[in-house]
Amino acid sequence: MRVYWREARPMVDWGHLGARRFIDPFFVQTIDPCVRHPADLLFRHQTPLETLGEIAATQPSVQPTGFIFHMSRCGSTLLSQMLAVAPENIVLSEAGPIDDVLRLNFRNPEITDEEQVRWLQWLVGVLVWRRHPAEKNVFIKFDCWHTMFLPLLQRAFPGVPWIFLYREPIEVMASAEQRLGGPVLPGVLPPALFGWDAGMVGRMQSIEYCARVLAKLCEAALAPAQAGHGKLVNYRQLPAAIWPELLKYWNVEFSPDETAQMFGAAQLNAKNPAQPFTADSQAKRDSASPELRALTRQWLDEVYQQLESQRLSHGFA
């Protein structure tokens, strides 16, 4: 359920999932019930991270099928929720333990890429143990800032087809401004991750920081896409326009019934499935203040055009 430091040693904190599938919008929502009962909250196995490899090998895993990277607030949860409908899919949506491993060298810079690659492989191997006979595909939707780790993740999982989801920047910025939080808040991530220092970040207004982080995420995906890796997907292609190409790219097939159920899931609010989906692109554009538009133009418009150009020339039809 998480990887954490116990003094100088990274440890794995285990929970008992039982038969629970990863069908919630986010990983944390699936595992939170694992610690709801006091007997599970208080008594949990804790093992050193270095033993995770042996543990991972004790049960069969499913190999990763496809990865979803994204700039946030751009339909990534819609896509992961659609995929989660099918019982043959294990879908990890912003799994905290993956984030924990990627952050380990923030505290200990001596941790090498090779160690992180190994730990990521072991960790994912455990997270995708086959717990139901039908399971044969694994999709991982990463946290948006994990796009900065694309090279490391490609090393850990070579050959896994990935996509980068993005959206008209003003719509993302308008959404972020309404609920500024997570990795686009100053201080949550180390400035060095983006090639900045603390002084530079300290001089940025929060909303400017948000715009510049989003730009960095887009740039981090654009470069490998231009080198022929991965595929770029614009939010407005979701879901129907892109679906056949996505399945072909990921080499998966679903039955007509499953496809119908997946598109049924697309009619719901991905983050709150009790509510219906409401198209909000126009509302977001209309709500943007002049300041927001100026920041978006300054930091995001150019990389967005580059993403679009790359997508149109080398992406899905």
Partner: protein, 71 residues
């Protein structure tokens, strides 16, 4: 020092629970309200002596750590 001994005893009991799935299931069968008392009784049966407040404190710590990680 009594409190420290009780925490150590609770930890020892925790090791026994993790090594014995049936014992863990027995604890899971308790309601949240009855859990502390059951843990105290089952612990005492195994020479691990601690009080209900120690169990409650440990639960609060774990819940706080869990929430801090995710929220």
């Amino acid at each position: 020092m009594e409190g420290l001994d009780e925490r150590e005893n609770l930890e020892r009991f925790g090791d026994l629970v993790l090594a014995d799935p049936k014992l863990h299931d027995q604890l899971r069968a308790a309601t949240p309200e009855d859990f502390a008392a059951l843990a105290v009784r089952l612990g005492a049966e195994r020479a691990c002596y601690f009080s209900a407040p120690v169990v409650v404190d440990a639960l609060l710590e774990q819940r706080r750590a869990w929430l801090e990680r995710w929220f």
